[in-house]
Symmetry: C2
Subunit: 123 residues, 2 copies
Amino acid sequence: MAAADPLSRVFAALADPTRRDMVARLAVADATVGELAEPYDVSVQAVSKHLRVLEDAGLVSRSREAQRRPVHLEAEVFDLMTAWIERYRRQAEERYRRLDDVLASLPDDVPPTQEPLPGGGAP
Amino acid sequence: MAAADPLSRVFAALADPTRRDMVARLAVADATVGELAEPYDVSVQAVSKHLRVLEDAGLVSRSREAQRRPVHLEAEVFDLMTAWIERYRRQAEERYRRLDDVLASLPDDVPPTQEPLPGGGAP
DNA sequence: CCCGTTCTCAACCAGGTGGTTGACAAGATG
DNA sequence: CATCTTGTCAACCACCTGGTTGAGAACGGG
């Protein structure tokens, strides 16, 4: 996704298992590109590309230290996602709560069972 | 992403603005495919495809009601994401906290300033 | 029973994604 | 200075994605 909006970029960045694993490891400690690439059995170039995606999403920042480029996790962007998710999760839960209320109040009202007697009178 | 793992599918599903908007609207009320498609200026088929992505991610379920196929939001899958996000966000915050502690305790310990007196004795 | 409505399936297309290899920039170090 | 280390850039490739159109399935209503 080369989409412009930040939320799409963050979600897309985390839709890849390798990238999620990188984030998980960066939550523990900063790391260089080589260190990050070591366990994955892909080229360093591929990892560099993944890092670019994470950087474009604002999840990661890269500084400079001699030839090395230490990668650092920027955790604030998580809040963007959390806010979005929580908003609609709560809204959906609210719906369920209201539905429960309606169902609970129903037996006091008209029961939805049909009346089998066409011209029926009480005996 | 045709990836097998559920987390990737959920993230990928929400990486599209149109799909996120559908989820937002479904949080308010269930809807049919036609109702969902109406505001988007794309074909109904495209919306049907989007719904399939959301369904494969477990975010949505489709039942049957005459020709109509009402779509219902399944909010539980959000928990999967929230759990993942919160885990690494907290881990990253913990790192900052520990770093702060180290920095705070530093002045009580050996100050990192060099001693300018080589064989220096007290006067 | 035929018709209209609602929706999915199939084929196709432009463009993006994750991977590769090869070349090269930036720096420490012999 | 020559060289090794670390990482990026560029070109290329197979595959997935989001969109289209056309055909057809499923079902209610006249």
